[in-house]
């Protein structure tokens, strides 16, 4: 009696997996056209995200161009030594985490506020204009932004220094004072990213059934109460998913932002130097691909751990909101 059961058990595994991914056969056939649309995306993901992972090997090898990836000599963790040989590792890790945490929190909060405000004026003719204006900075390269910032902050002709000069306050040497830069970078990042995030949230808000708001209105809820008890709770899953995705990249600093805005100024490294800029500076002269790969691997590995951890926390809090 037990035999057929066993065969059943052993044969179901691949089928179950396929069914879990594609649904049962009928579902699969009806959805075939839709599923096939995902193919190019899956192929791209495979080519650009999974195949390059083989390159991780380089981080553990003494890579020589003429020997190739497989032919080069294995050297274990030697390539990672330069990251941890000085206290630099601690500082750049701290800066990266701290700045990205600031970025994620400020962008989420501000983008939510902007999205809610945009939603309130959504029927006005100006709303397209606001959206475009907010979105536009997203397309401007950090190199160009660095010139804007320089025009505002430079010591001699900077706009801000001229203003505070006119107010009779002593000029501030922005490019010499590391303490101001976390704020400057947060503002710049906000200016750049808020349009993008707020449009995503706005799309989420527009997806909420208007009946909920109508019912709340009939029950006498004001605007603030509607936001507090309808808009925000309905957006939670979206906020959490976006935050989780951002946390996944928390170890990857935006190189353009951190490299160009402070103009690679040594006096500002204490607050603006992040993993990416540090690695670039230490290795651009050395041309050591293995060490750069090691730093990249370190970043990705810690980033991966952080996603798993963040997802675990979310799962503890509410299973439905977890990413997986």
């Amino acid at each position: 009696m037990s035999e057929p059961r066993q065969t059943k058990q052993s044969s179901f595994a691949p089928e179950r997996v396929i069914r879990r991914i594609f649904g049962n056969q009928r579902e699969f056939r009806t959805n075939l056209s839709l599923l096939s649309m995902a193919l190019p995306g899956i192929a791209l993901l495979f080519i650009f995200a999974y195949l390059p992972m083989l390159g991780i090997l380089i981080a553990f090898k003494d890579y020589r161009f003429n020997l190739g990836i497989l032919g080069s000599e294995w050297i274990g963790f030697q390539n990672f030594r330069f990251l941890f040989g000085t206290d630099a590792a601690f500082r750049i890790t701290r800066n990266t985490l701290l700045m990205n945490t600031l970025f994620i929190s400020t962008t989420t909060v501000c983008a939510l506020i902007v999205a809610i405000l945009l939603n309130e004026v959504y029927r006005s003719r100006m709303s397209k204009y606001y959206q475009t204006m907010l979105f536009f900075p997203y397309f401007i390269s950090w190199v160009i932004v660095s010139y804007f910032v320089f025009a505002f902050l430079n010591g001699q002709t900077g706009l801000i220094n001229q203003w505070i000069d006119a107010l009779g306050i002593k000029r501030i040497a922005w490019y010499r004072s590391a303490a101001y830069w976390p704020v400057i970078l947060v503002l710049a990042n906000l200016w750049n990213g808020i349009g993008f995030s707020s449009i995503i949230y706005l799309a989420g808000i527009l997806g909420i059934s208007p009946e909920l708001f109508e019912a709340a209105q009939i029950d006498g809820a004001g605007k603030l109460k509607q936001i507090r008890y309808i808009t925000l709770p309905m957006l939670y899953p979206m906020i959490i998913i976006l935050a989780l995705l951002a946390i996944g990249r928390i170890f990857h600093a935006d190189f353009g932002l951190f490299f160009f805005l402070p103009r690679d100024n040594p006096l500002l490294y204490s607050t603006t130097d992040v993993i990416d800029t540090f690695v670039y500076r230490s290795l651009v002269e050395l041309g050591e691909i293995s060490m750069a790969a090691a730093a990249g691997f370190y970043q990705s590995f810690i980033g991966f751990l952080l996603v798993v951890a963040a997802n675990w926390v979310v799962r503890r809090f509410n299973e439905d909101y977890a990413l997986y």
């Binding site: 161009f65 020997l67 993008f196 449009i199 040594p266 002269e285 050395l286 041309g287």
Partner: protein, 512 residues
């Protein structure tokens, strides 16, 4: 309904924007594809060997194809080679080459140097072909044009991997002030022997013209130039390391910890504080246009013979030029400052070497490459003295072929002069090369392999703690102790010990 439509519009917008940003990222990829096409496109006629030459360029000259064709007219018949020129913009040259080479892409001749597309890295990474036999067999003229001691500078572990372009080898650091301002504010350049002698004039120019007179570009620049202070820097990639050029014991030191460095730092700090140098220098391009617009009064650089003319070409003013470095020091980095090398992946290294022979010994080919076609891109001013000029109505900026990088293509002493005042500059340069004081470590090349972790660490520390001192932003007395301590923590001493022992081994094999 409207909500639905809005959502659709929004998601389309989102998709489009995502697609746009995704497209913008790999912008450099199509460029390389183009380059490859360029390389593959002109199919050589039967029996010709195709050779590519990849080098840095300030933008891509409009008449590149014309010049290439003119060169091939000669090369087809003479050595049976079809040459393809592959200039890459200087801004991208280093990164692009390192990527290409690391990808194992095929190449024939490439430009390499200690300061760009690093020679040391390329040798260490096994990218370059050994050249000794090729030189002797396929480029006898080139091989004989320089003494063996000069070739030694290009040897790494006894093997030559790069062909040295003859030009100025030592670094005659000095000043080139604008002539009109030296007259206006009374500078007697003959009496100037060191940086500090410039100060009274600089102060006068600052007050009289209301400018920061010394030309520097972002992020900053100091007066610490190791050869001026008698040091051989040994390796551009290890910035703190140096050796007194006349030190027979071959002992390297941390240059930050020397009296000379302190002197340079103090003078630089004074120049910044006095407003001789801008505190927040402009980026390179803008600083150059500001120089052209008269916003600076002087530059300080390698004051080789004829540099006043080169500066005039670049900035439009008449200049004086004075070398302040005494004695001149010939070190490995100087002798190998500009080189052409053959890739290990090249299918025809012998033919590539024959092309290099042409670049270095055939003045016609060399000047085609560096100056363009006679009658079109330049005309004779004085053919007997080999002086050329731009055709009427054309200048350096409007010319359709003006790479202005003689030193990249081959033996610069074969170049035509650009100005009658320049006549004799090559002989004077050769004289400087021959009479310069050879560093005790001339010919020694650092093997970075055993200390690359420490080099990466100290280079980060150097950038953070030493550069502000070097640029005159902070006082040496305040900042140097911490900088030195940090360097030591990052492994400076280990580097010094390792290189000292490498030097001793090298000396044992190469007695004086």
């Amino acid at each position: 309904m409207t909500q639905h439509r809005v959502l659709t519009v929004l998601s389309v917008l989102l998709l489009v924007s995502l697609a746009l940003t995704a497209c913008s990222a790999p912008a450099s990829a199509p460029a390389t594809a183009n380059d490859q096409q360029e390389a593959a496109a002109p199919a050589p006629t039967d029996g010709l060997v195709s050779i590519t030459y990849t080098y840095g360029s300030r933008g891509i000259p409009a008449d590149l194809q014309l010049v290439e064709d003119a060169m091939n007219e000669i090369l087809h018949d003479k050595i049976g080679v079809h040459l393809t020129l592959q200039p890459i913009d200087f801004g991208a040259y280093n990164d692009k080459m390192q990527l290409r080479l690391s990808a194992g892409e095929e190449c024939d001749i490439i430009f390499t140097a200690p300061w760009i597309n690093s020679y040391a890295n390329n040798v260490a990474n096994g990218v370059l072909a050994p050249l000794d036999d090729l030189l002797i067999n396929y480029a006898p003229g080139l091989w004989g044009s320089m003494p063996p001691t000069t070739w030694d500078a290009a040897r790494v572990n006894g093997v030559i991997y790069g062909v040295i372009n003859q030009q100025i080898f030592p670094k005659p650091w000095g000043v080139h002030p604008r002539k009109d301002l030296t007259e206006k504010y009374g500078l007697d350049l003959d009496s100037v022997t060191k940086w500090e002698d410039m100060e009274p004039w600089l102060a006068a120019v600052r007050d009289g013209e209301g400018i920061s007179p010394v030309f520097i570009a972002a992020p900053g620049r100091g007066l610490w130039l190791s050869q001026y202070y008698g040091y051989d820097p040994l390796d551009d990639g290890i910035a703190f390391l140096g050796m007194k050029a006349d030190d027979e014991t071959l002992t390297t030191v941390n240059m930050v910890d020397t009296v000379e460095f302190q002197m340079a730092a103090n003078t630089t700090k004074r120049w910044v504080d006095e407003g001789f140098m801008p505190l927040e220098p402009l980026p390179n391009d803008e600083a150059r246009s500001a120089f052209r617009a008269g916003q600076y009064a002087m530059g300080y650089h390698v004051e080789k013979p004829g540099n006043d003319i080169e500066a005039q070409n670049a900035y439009g003013f008449e200049f004086l030029s004075k070398n302040l470095t005494d004695p001149l020091i010939l070190d490995t980095a100087g002798a190998t400052a500009t080189m052409n090398a053959i890739c290990a992946t090249s299918k025809n290294p012998q033919k590539a070497m024959e092309v290099l022979e042409e670049f270095n010994t055939n003045a016609y080919i060399y000047n085609l490459l560096s100056r363009g076609i006679e009658g079109k891109h330049w005309v004779w001013e004085d053919e007997a003295n080999q002086v050329m000029r731009f055709p009427d109505g054309v200048d350096g900026n409007t010319s359709t072929y003006n790479p202005n990088t003689d030193w990249m293509f081959g033996n610069q002493f074969n170049a035509y002069y650009r100005d009658t005042k320049q006549v004799g500059a090559w002989e004077a340069t050769k004289e400087m090369n021959d009479t310069a004081f050879p560093s005790e470590a001339l010919g020694f090349v650092v093997d970075r392999e055993p200390i690359k972790t420490e080099i990466a660490q100290t280079s980060a520390v150097y950038n953070e703690f030493v550069l502000p001192i070097l640029f005159g932003w902070v006082a040496y007395a305040d900042a140097a102790p911490e900088a030195i301590e940090r360097l030591n923590e990052a492994g400076a001493q280990a580097i010094i010990n390792e290189i000292n022992s490498q030097l001793q081994e090298w000396r044992a094999k190469n007695p004086r």
